[in-house]
């Protein structure tokens, strides 16, 4: 049942794994942007999460400790961003870009001596005989627990944003910080919390790259996944379930190009490896052109700093 040398069941199963890092990072960034902050430092937070997670997992031989450390590392780095933009009122775009560059350098420094080491294996969830079902088994029941956790997190974020007071306040702050301030909400504090959550999610995604997806440490391991995550947020027009779809779509493209390379397709490798990024650019252009629904759904205060004058 191979099509052009590619097994579709394995393709779907592996795209679900490939989608996890960008899904987690995009989900975190979605919350950050919903609160009105544009943090372009996702790539930096991801890679710092990747190395923190890797070091902790190798040190303790526990993948759980690794993921926790990855989330913590991303969150700490995001607090640097939060301090600069929410307290010092620095420009969010410039600070975010700086954060990415800083994160790449920092991770490279921290990763000295970790090249070539194998991290502990993240266990697959034992579904027993369920995993033996043809087609369905490998796709639905053949994954490690982070795959399921990431889908649960999408549902969780969706529910919080839609149905809880906390979610309502986050959306309100992102919609009009002045009105939220007039009603007595602590705009900068709420944003700070969202930024930290976004950092933790990016860090978690990064840890998944170094612990499961690759699994080893090399410099620049995230290879632009943070930028794809940023694109997915816009692609999803700030809706959590669409983040899931977007992540599978982009994950699928990157897996497909690897499979095509392996299957020895006639298209030059360079075109295949640039395809996820090309698609990212095309999607962003389509989404941001015109006054479509996407631009209407964008948080109105996105990217603007708030300073309570009096």
């Amino acid at each position: 049942m191979d099509i052009g040398g590619i097994n579709p069941v394995i393709l779907v199963a592996s795209l679900m794994v490939a989608a996890v890092p960008i899904m987690l990072a995009a989900l975190g960034e979605l919350v950050v942007e919903k609160s009105g902050v544009l943090n372009l430092g996702v790539e930096g937070m991801m890679i710092v999460g990747a190395i923190c997670g890797f070091i902790a997992a190798v040190g303790t031989q526990s993948p759980v400790a690794g993921f926790a450390a990855g989330a913590a590392g991303g969150a700490v780095l995001s607090l640097v961003f939060a301090f600069l933009t929410q307290v010092m009122l620095a420009n969010q775009v410039a600070t975010g870009l700086a954060l990415t560059l800083f994160g790449l350098g920092l991770s490279s420094l921290m990763g000295q001596g970790y090249n070539g080491i194998k991290p502990p294996v993240t266990a697959k969830v034992p579904f027993g005989p369920l995993a033996e079902i043809p087609v369905l088994g490998p796709i639905v029941f053949g994954h490690d627990w982070m795959v399921y956790a990431s889908i649960a997190l999408v549902a969780c974020v969706w529910w919080v944003l839609r149905a809880t007071r906390l979610g309502l306040i986050i959306r309100a702050v992102g919609e009009s910080h002045e009105a939220a301030h007039a009603l007595g909400y602590k705009v900068n504090r709420i944003r700070l919390g969202c930024i930290a959550f976004g950092g933790a999610m990016a860090g978690l995604g990064g840890a998944y790259v170094s612990l499961v997806r690759v699994p080893q440490w090399v410099d620049g391991i995230t290879a632009g996944a943070g930028w794809i995550a940023l694109a997915i947020v816009v692609f999803a027009s700030w809706r959590p379930w669409r983040v899931l779809i977007g992540a599978y779509l982009f994950g699928g493209i990157s897996v497909l190009q690897l499979n095509l390379q392996a299957a020895g397709s006639g298209i030059p490798v360079e075109y295949l490896s640039m395809s996820p990024y090309l698609v990212t650019i095309v999607v962003l252009v389509i989404m941001s052109s015109g006054r479509g629904r996407a631009s209407l759904n964008a948080p109105a205060s996105l990217g603007q700093n708030f300073h309570a004058a009096r």
């Binding site: 007071r165 309502l168 306040i169 959306r171 309100a172 919609e175 009009s176 002045e178 009105a179 939220a180 007039a182 009603l183 007595g184 909400y185 006054r291 631009s295 209407l296 759904n297 948080p299 109105a300 009096r310």
Partner: protein
């Protein structure tokens, strides 16, 4: 009738760097009293109510609310004590629905379904129909205000603060609002009513306190005081209404024919088949509640929004497809409403701002190079002629107060010897003395032969300066009628009556 005291304000002072916003302010409000707080812009009204609402802390003085000392450190505390506030610039979220907006202003909102039912119940009880599931971005200004009022009413307030509530309403909507307020007052809710519309205060309020430069300069019973007396207390000087020189009307300078355009603004209003003409020496006043296409009309006239070339004619020349610069060259100047950001570049100096629109008609550039001496001269001329209070032409536009900046921006346009002038909200947030000066300047230009279009939400202003009067309603313009002989009822009807008061859903045609 003596009332029990609800709120006692005693010796409140508050300073900001360089200004004393409030100085030793004392007065009290009784249970169920409708009390007016009167004053010019910058008199310290907003600062005072922010202190009552817990947004600002006083430097000195005490508040006593229902017999107990009252010093709220944040709005939630004030709300818990029974103080509610309807803001001047609405504190609403456009992309959220009515129920969500209401929930955000409450301390312990019930589940959404229950809240929606309560919103329906309360809105029916007070004659303010509202659909909890609608997006606020799609509501008219009057309906938005209802959201704010209902948000307050659901918390059963003892004191309701209203900051300039009628500035965005049609006369009929004002009527309905007043009925609601009287009902509240008879149920024992005190209302602190901030406004500078004196006739309204005379019909509604039981007592009034007048502030000037942060100090209480008097108090009165509005029913027994004339509007003129209150105005002079407020300004501290005698006021002269602008004089109008009846000039002969000349030929048509601006013609707009069947202008339709989709709005470039999210939640904006589409312009539908707008037609009018303006002759030399004529002032056309365009009224209407905010959000009915005013911003879009200004964009279409100024050239920021381009249309088919024959839709707009300046001096008989087709100009619909020209950009703002080319229209300026053709003789049309425009002043948008938003001072900080649209009409001016806030962080640039007054000289640079003068250059931005003056370059073409005042010849301030030569072969691509800026003639700074001439530009500075132009800016200083505007500052002098229009009495702009500023340390100099080098300061950033942002540093000027709203009224001063507005004088500068209007002056900048008027001093370009224009043939057509389009202004949106010439005196929004400007104090009475400056507003009078701006209106006089507009009339002077008209007397010199310019055609003027003034878009404003202030009916009194339009009736004072306009020759012809039209109303913009949901993107459509009524047929302009001469101001002479118009009654307020006719104007109300032109404005579309009570704006969907009877039916909460009005279907977009």
């Amino acid at each position: 009738m003596t009332r029990e005291t609800l709120l006692k304000i005693d010796g409140i002072s508050k300073s900001y760097p360089g200004v004393k916003a409030n100085e030793d302010v004392s007065f009290s409000i009784g249970v169920g009293e409708v009390h007016a707080l009167l004053g010019e812009n910058g008199a310290g009204k907003s600062t005072l109510v922010k202190m009552i609402y817990g947004l600002v802390k006083p430097d000195e003085g005490t508040l006593t609310f229902r017999g107990k000392p009252f010093a709220p450190s944040e709005p939630s505390e004030a709300r818990a004590a029974g103080v509610a506030m309807v803001f001047q610039h609405f504190s609403l979220f456009e992309a959220l629905n009515v129920a969500e907006n209401v929930a955000l202003g409450m301390e312990n909102p019930p589940p959404m379904r229950e809240l929606a039912a309560r919103i329906r119940a309360v809105s029916e009880e007070y004659g303010l129909p509202l659909d909890p599931a609608r997006m606020v971005g799609d509501l008219s200004a009057g309906e938005r205000q209802r959201v704010e009022i209902i948000r307050c009413l659901l918390q059963d307030p003892k004191l309701l603060i209203m900051d300039e509530p009628t500035s965005v309403l049609t006369p009929q909507e004002v009527e309905i609002l007043f009925k609601t307020l009287r009902q509240l007052s008879s149920e024992g809710t005190a209302i602190l009513y901030i406004s500078h519309k004196l006739e309204e205060i005379r019909t509604l309020c039981d007592g009034a306190t007048i502030l000037r430069r942060g100090k209480v300069v008097g108090s009165c019973v509005p029913r027994e005081t004339t509007a003129r007396e209150m105005a002079e207390l407020m300004v501290g000087a005698t006021l002269t209404p602008p004089e109008r020189r009846a000039g002969a009307k000349g030929e048509v300078v601006l013609g707009v024919t069947d202008l339709s355009a989709a709005s470039p603004i999210p939640f904006g209003t589409t312009l539908k088949g707008i037609s009018f003409t303006v002759a030399r020496g004529e002032v056309l006043g365009i009224a209407g509640v905010a959000g009915n296409g005013q911003d879009e009309l200004l964009l279409a006239l100024s050239g920021e929004l381009r249309v088919a070339s024959d839709k707009i004619r300046i001096n008989g020349r087709a100009a619909g497809d020209l950009g703002p610069g080319e229209r300026r060259r053709a003789g049309l100047v425009a002043a948008p409403e938003d001072r900080y950001g649209h009409a001016a570049a806030p962080d640039m100096s007054l000289v640079e701002n003068a250059l931005l629109t003056g370059a073409i008609r005042r010849n301030l550039t030569h072969r691509g190079f800026i003639d700074w001496a001439a530009t500075r001269g132009f800016a200083e001329e505007v500052i002098q002629t229009y009495d702009v209070r500023t340390p100099g032409s080098h300061v950033a536009a942002r540093a000027l107060s709203g009224g001063n900046l507005q004088k500068f921006l209007i002056g900048r346009e008027l001093d370009q010897s224009p043939e057509v002038i389009v202004i949106n909200q010439p005196t929004w947030g400007v104090d009475a003395a400056a507003a009078a000066a701006i209106r006089q300047a507009i009339l002077n230009r008209a007397a010199e032969g310019a055609g003027v279009v003034v878009i404003s939400q202030d009916l009194d202003e339009l009736l004072e300066i306009a020759d012809m009067f039209a109303v913009l309603n949901e993107g459509r313009l009524t047929k302009p009628r001469p101001v002479e002989g118009l009654t307020i009822d006719q104007i109300g009807l032109m404005m579309g009556g009570a704006h969907g008061m009877e039916v909460a859903h009005h279907v977009e045609a």
